[in-house]
Structures are given as C-alpha cells and as structure tokens.
C-alpha cells in the first residue's frame, strides 16, 4: 500500500490570501483540478459554491442544483465520466442526498468524488444539529475534518487523492465556525488532472443485487486499508506536551484545546472515519488520562472506549451546542486539570432578545397577514418566511423539513379533524427543491388543501441564490425559467391564481376564494425579495402622529421600520416609521384605519 498519499507539495513560491473557511474549501476544489462542482445552497455551506463560481469557466463547471440529491447525482455522473467531481451541502442536505451516497459507496469512483458537508453545532441557522460523521460511518465513507482555513484547502486536495487511491467517495466535514472564520491561507496552483474517461464495468457501476453482494466485502476491505493509511497520514497529528494527560480532538475544537490547554499531549485527528487505528492506540497507551474534545456526537470517544481504554468525553463536554474556548476550559476544570474560572460579571444587564425578523418591506408579510385573517391551519416550510412563526405574525403552526409543508397538509386534510382551512406555505426555491412530488400527491389523492407558493424570485434565506425559477445560472447567465403556473397546471391543479404580494386586500380575497375551493388550489404570491439579489427601495412612508390613534394595527405586520414613539393617544403608544429602514412597500398604509400613514413626500 502506498502511504505517500497526503503529502501536499507546494509547487511555487507561497502566495497568501485572506480567506473564509468556505473560500479556502473552494480554492481546494479548484486546485484539485475538479471539472464539475455542484451544490444546493444551505447555511453555512453556501459560500463554497459561490466562490467556486468565481474561478474560470474553462476550468470548472459550477452550478446550482435543484436539491442536494440532484447535486450529488450530477457529481456522481461526472465522476463516472472520468473527471474529478465535487458537491457541497449543509448537514441536512446530506439526508436528501443520502440515498445516492449509500449506493455510490458500493460503487466507488472513477474520477475523484468529494463532498463537503457543513454541520451547524449550536443551530445558528438550521432545523437540527445532526452530526455528519454518523451518516458517514453508515455509508462507510472517509471523513476529513480540517480545523482552520489552511487545512480546509489542503484537506480537499488530499480528499481527492484518497478518493481515487481507495476508490471511495470522501466527505470533508466543516462546521459553521470553520466555514465562517477568515484567516491567511497559503495557496497553490491548479493540478493538471487529465480525465480518465468512462470505464465500462457493469459489475462495479450497476448496483443490482448480484453486483452489490460482490461489492459489499470490498467495502469492508476498504475500511481496513483506510485504517492502515490513518497510521502514517499527516492528517492525524500527534503533538507532544508536558502534562500527563492527553487530549484527542478534531476540527475546530483543536483550536480551542490549543488555546486553553497548551501543555496537553494532543492527538489531532484529521480523519474521523475510520477512527480506529494503531496510531490512536499508541497515543492512548502513552498518556495517563485520556480526554476527547469533539463537538456533537461521541464518535471518537466511543472508538477509544471500544479499543479498551478508559476515556472521558461527553461527561465533561456537552453533546449538544457549539463549543467555545470557555466550554473547553470549563470541561477541563471539571476534570480537575485546569483552575476553575471565576466569572466576575460587573453589570448584570439582560437586554431584550433580538431575534431575526422579516425585513422591512418583505413580500412574505402579506401572505401571513391574510392567513391570520382567514384563520387557517398553516403548514409552514423552510425559508425566510419561517420567521412568520414569531409574534406578531405568528401564523405558522408546523414546520419540519424542506418541502414537508405540502405533504403534511395532505395528511392533515386526510385525518379529517380540522375545521379550519388547511394551507401549505412554501417558498419558490423550496417548492422546486422538494415541493413538486407532494403537490402531485395532493392532486392524485384529491386532498382538499390550498398551497401558497411564496415566489420572491430568489433563495433569500441563504443570501439570494438563483434557482431554476429565476432564469439565471450560478454564473449569472440567462437560462430557461420554470413557469410555476404551467408546472402546477400540468400536474392537474385546476385552481391557480397569481397575487401581487403588496396588495393586501386582493391577497385576502384571493386566499379566501382559494380556501373555499374544493380540491387543490394554488395561490402564487408574487413579488421579488427587497434585499436580494438587488436591494429594492421605494419611497419611504411616514406616520402623521397627529392622526395616529395608537391602535397598533400596523404593528401586527412586524415591520422592523415601525416602532413606538414617545407620544401616546388615550394611554396607548403612538408609532413612527424609521424612514431610513422603510422600503416603501405600503402595507402599513393599507392597514391603517385612520389614514395616518402616507408617503414621506406628501
């Protein structure tokens, strides 16, 4: 076995750039000679493909896929065709792509195949904090975990080498903190990788039961070979310390460990599947006390225990949430290895919470105002509009995963317990991602539901990426554009209507008609997002305070440009508009019963 894999050679004089983790990952993709790179956006992974899209078109195809499964399938196709291929997604995106990965792992690769999957410990912007390493173990796919931007770049290059050497897809796991930290990175050049061409081999490339049975034992052999590679790989680094305890750590946690416990012996695992190796065993045998510092699941800890060592991990460092230097320090203090820290706080102020809210002028606002008014049972979905769950809109009853809204509405309707009209609300990007099959299901099974497609012409939540419904590619070129009405009609929906999201009265009327229709009705709320891809600002409105009766009707919109002023009317707080924030959508003027809200110029 050639154990030289992983020795990156710097080809020319080092050139440095300040890069975010995600930009470094993208650089690694480009340097690796990748031909086809695909992603569906998702925080914290989104900037990877945006950055890949800045490298020359002649070098690399960079594209948005309709969802993560499609992204992985496209990458798999390119790998079959003999080119290096890449897909990026957030942790929950891997759930969507998992079906393909579980079979592809039996097949292996032709051109190298690498996935970057970004986990979100602390749930900064996700619906859960699952640990990708558990899914990777299920798929028996190697996982590399860089701990800073420099390693992010290098690990991607090494991942491609491992992928081709060991005939396996490889996952590079990032986390929010790594993806979004900027530091200086030494960059290299693009590798001149020549395509392998398609290799005809149905025994390997076509997974029918007879072939899959032959491939499974090879997977087990591959695991063994990888474990051997882990012994010599520079990715698993043993750093000697002066203390008598040893810490095994991975990813971003390594930086916290070095920060708070510079004296510890450290085994920094760059590869966390497979975990068990002779190197790990040797490290454990060399120290008096073994601690594992890893975010989320006790993957490494369990492996050490399985090897017969006594180890401390999740008893000291939480299994949930994001780590910080403080958490690592406190855990080591609990273990008696560091002095406890006294948290002397001077001023004990507990400022108000400041959750994210829909933007001033957000076109989603009117849909949820109307839903409140018709008193619907609302199945929500994932996007900016999920923010309508909080006060004052508070118009979403359930929300699970991308595309779930429509299927859930069908189930609620079929359960037959609901007296309220059942409405699914789903954004344009989410509808294309996973909303079409359940809509077909609703029509096929004759469910009595209303579907609101909230078409703001972008994938706003993740920062405004294009998708198949915008008519623009990742590289900004014009392309075919999905016509939502035609699509919806073609699957058999008989009632389809467009509404201008800034016309509250017609939104309300149309929604009422839609919910009165027996069968599947589709209402498309149509207005571009005011923030992305371009800021859309109309003339600001203002409130004539002498006319304001302080009824708080406009406050129901939750518009962040509207807040209380110091004056009162009949004991109630009057309101005012911050003209610097107002986007001029006019919704507040439409709900004001005393006509106090007017264009600022009037």
């Amino acid at each position: 076995m050639d154990l030289e894999v992983g020795k990156v050679e710097i080809v020319s004089a080092p050139e440095t750039h300040t890069m975010m983790g995600n930009e470094a990952l993208a650089r690694g993709v480009w340097e690796s000679g990748v031909r086809v790179a695909v992603a569906y956006p998702g925080t914290p992974s989104t900037e990877i493909m945006e950055a890949v899209g800045k490298y020359p078109c002649e070098d690399i195809e960079a594209q948005w896929a309709t969802n993560e499964k499609v992204a992985l399938d496209v990458a798999i196709g390119a790998s079959f065709a003999g080119e290096r291929a890449f897909a990026a997604m957030k942790h929950v995106g891997l759930n969507v792509a998992l079906d393909s990965l579980m079979s592809q792992t039996y097949i292996g690769v032709n051109g190298g195949l690498v996935l970057v999957v970004c986990d979100d410990p602390g749930i900064h912007s996700s619906q859960n904090e699952q640990d990708t390493r558990l899914l990777a173990a299920l798929a028996m796919v190697p996982v590399l975990e860089p701990s800073d931007a420099q390693e992010a770049l290098e690990f991607v290059r090494i991942a491609f080498e491992i992928s081709e050497r060991f005939d396996t897809p490889v996952i590079v796991r990032s986390t929010t903190r790594l993806s979004h930290t900027r530091s200086v990175v030494e960059v290299g050049e693009r590798l001149p990788v020549s395509a392998f061409g398609f290799k005809d081999n149905p025994l390997k490339n076509v997974m029918i039961p007879a072939h899959a049975r032959l491939r499974h034992p090879m997977l087990l052999e591959r695991e063994q070979a990888l474990a051997e590679y882990c012994i010599s790989s520079p990715l698993n680094r043993w750093e000697e310390g002066s203390a008598d305890y040893g810490i095994i750590t991975t990813g971003i946690s390594y930086s916290y460990v070095k920060e708070v416990a510079p004296d510890a012996h450290v085994l920094k695992l760059g590869i966390t599947w497979p975990v068990r190796s002779e190197k790990l065993r040797a490290f454990c045998a060399s120290v008096k006390r073994i601690l594992v510092v890893e975010e989320l699941e006790p993957v490494v800890e369990q492996a050490v225990r399985d090897m017969g060592f006594e180890v401390e991990g999740k008893t000291l460092f939480s299994r949930e949430g994001e780590f910080s230097p403080r958490i690592v320090h406190d855990g080591l203090a609990k273990a008696g290895l560091l002095p406890a820290q006294v948290g002397a706080r001077g001023l004990n102020s507990q400022p108000l919470v400041r959750p994210p809210v829909l933007c001033a002028g957000c076109p989603h606002t009117s849909s949820y105002m109307a839903l409140r008014t018709v008193d619907a049972r609302v199945c929500g979905d994932i996007g900016c509009y999920t923010l309508a769950v909080v006060e004052p809109l508070r118009a979403i009853d359930v929300c699970v995963a991308m595309g779930s809204s429509i299927g859930m509405a069908v189930g609620m309707a079929k359960a037959g317990t609901e007296s309220k009209p059942i409405v699914a609300t789903i954004g344009d990007s989410t509808f294309l991602h996973a909303g079409v099959p359940p809509l077909i299901d609703a029509v096929y099974n004759q469910a009595n539901i209303t579907v609101m497609i909230l078409d703001n012409h972008t994938t706003a939540m993740t920062g405004g990426q294009d998708h198949a419904g915008t008519g623009v590619t990742l590289r900004g070129e014009a392309t075919e554009k999905v016509n939502f009405e035609e699509l919806v009609r073609s699957v058999g929906v008989k009632w389809v209507r467009y509404v201008d999201s800034y016309d509250l009265a017609s939104m309300y009327q149309t929604l009422r008609e839609a919910t009165e229709f027996k069968g599947v009705s589709v209402l498309i709320s149509d207005r571009p997002c005011v923030l992305d891809p371009v800021k859309i600002r109309g003339e600001a409105y203002r409130i004539k305070s002498e006319s304001c009766v302080a009824c708080q009707a406009c406050m129901n919109l939750g518009c962040p440009a509207i807040a209380w002023i110091d004056e009162t009317y009949d004991g109630h707080r009057k309101v005012g508009i911050d003209t610097g924030q107002c986007m001029g959508c006019s919704l507040c003027a439409q709900v004001c019963p005393s006509n106090a809200i007017q264009l600022a110029s009037l």
């Binding site: 929010t176 200086v184 000697e240 916290y256 230097p325 400022p351 400041r354 406050m555 509207i562 004991g571």
Partner: protein, 313 residues
Amino acid sequence: MNNRESLKADIPATSVAAERPTNVLIVGVGGQGVIMVSKVLASLSQELGYQVKQSEVHGMAKRGGAVFSHVRFGSSVFSPTILEGDADILVALEWAEGLRWLPYLNQESGTFITDTQHIIPPFACRDRGRGAVSGYTRETVPEVMDSVTNSFALDAAEIATELGVPKASNTVLLGALSTALEFPVAAWKSVISKFVPSKTIEANTRAFDAGREWALSFDRETQLKDWTDRTKQDPEKTTDSSADVVSTLEITEAWCKGCDICVKFCPERCLAMDARQIAILTHPDRCTGCRICEWLCPDLAITVHTSKNNIST
C-alpha cells in the same frame, strides 16, 4: 503492519509559551456595518504582520438580528473566538447589543467603546395595553459608565450626521477604536479607504478623524454630567398612570347587521362573527380598548367603556 512501539509524536514538546493575542469583539445589529469594522481591523493587523483570525456567523444577520464578530491578532492565534471575560476591547454599534456582550469584556482591563444609538426591535413593542412600557433595555449611560471602568459612550450617529455622512457612524467608531490600539493613523486610513465606496473615502476619513478626536479629548466627568442631564428627560423613566385602566366592550346585538368590519379591523383579532352573524368578543383578555371597533362600526353597535379605580367614564 506498523509496530505500535515505532509510533511516537509527530511534533515534540516545546517550552516556548506563545504570547497572548489581542482580542477585539465587535457587535451590533444586522445592516449596521459590524462586519466592515471587523474586516478593517483584521486586515490592518494582518498588514502590520500579525497572525489574525476573524470569525462571525452569517445567515440571520441581515434580517435585523444580533451580529457579532470576533477579531484576534498576535504572533500566534488558535481559537477564532474569544473566551468569555477575555476581550480586551468591546466595540458596540448599538447600545443594547453592547450590554448583551459585556460579560465577554475583561473586567479589569477591558475597554468598552459603544454607540448610544438605540435600534428598537418590533419585539420590544409587544405590550399592547395602556401605559405599555417598551421592552428595550433600561440601563442608562451613567449607570454603565459607573460599572465599567474604561467605557466610552458616544453618539456616533449624531457625529456622523453633523459631518453630513449619516451612514458613516461605524467609521466614527473606528476612529475611537484607533485610540485604544497602537497602530499608525495613516495605516488605519489606508485600510479604511479599501473597504468603503471610492466616492465616500473623503467623507469616511473625516468621520474617522472625528471619532478619534472625540476619544482623545474624552473627559469622563464632563461626559458623565452630560449624560446624566440627558437621562433626566427620558420619558421612559416617568411612569404612566393610565396603566391601571380597564376596558370593557358593550355590543348591542340588535344593531349589528353582520358587516364584519370590526372583526377585520380589530388589531388584536379578538372579535369574531358567531353563527347568527353577530359580532362577539371572543378574546376579552386581548382587548386593549383601542376603540377601533367603536369608531368603525357603521351602526354604532359597539361601545368601549373604560374604568379606573372603579369609576366608569
């Protein structure tokens, strides 16, 4: 197969302790330019030869949520984030955000530089009743100056507006920050010019100078007195006697013709039409007595009664 005995450390132990990096935490609200301030600082310290890590979490930031960015620089930096209680400088672009992050400031030696600007989220205006008090933070500038030794509270927005560049309040704060770090002024200015639109370089330079000037001529006693005087006029500090007023609704069913107007317009959504198409109060607990239904009912079928200390009006 490798022999276990042959496996030993890749990097032997060293005894040189790395110098402690400088920790600066920059906080504010989405859209204020927190990231710009932090990028300027990060790129400046990098140009001056330090190792730098700059970390923030994207995503919710632009939707009016809280934003924060850690900048750490020194000869060697590991963690991208700052240990609680270990920030040397806390720069806040918004008042309540500054208070939120105070526990991160080093209690003995930390410097707190904060804008006094209040950005009140819709969340703070939730209480709909009479005499409602904003949920925004109550601490005043003098209170904070009293408890945090090195604190500098400035109305950066006002300074920027006076200079005719209302959007440059973050550059004013950079000017103030420049007095707390030993970097050459010219280097600050040259880096700032790379991060602002070219048309606004001159204006931003003035904003930087103004912030720097303000911090250099800072006199604690004068500031304390000044802010104490201002705080005395804060209407939030006066209590509103209308808080204990109770409202009740009287609906004259015979006059109601079921037009639905009151139901549609009630801001608290506490009215509904019953099976007979007569308006009823379904959620008396939510009624704030705003009188919209009384004013809008075309048939005068609704009257709002208010009472205080059992005296009806």
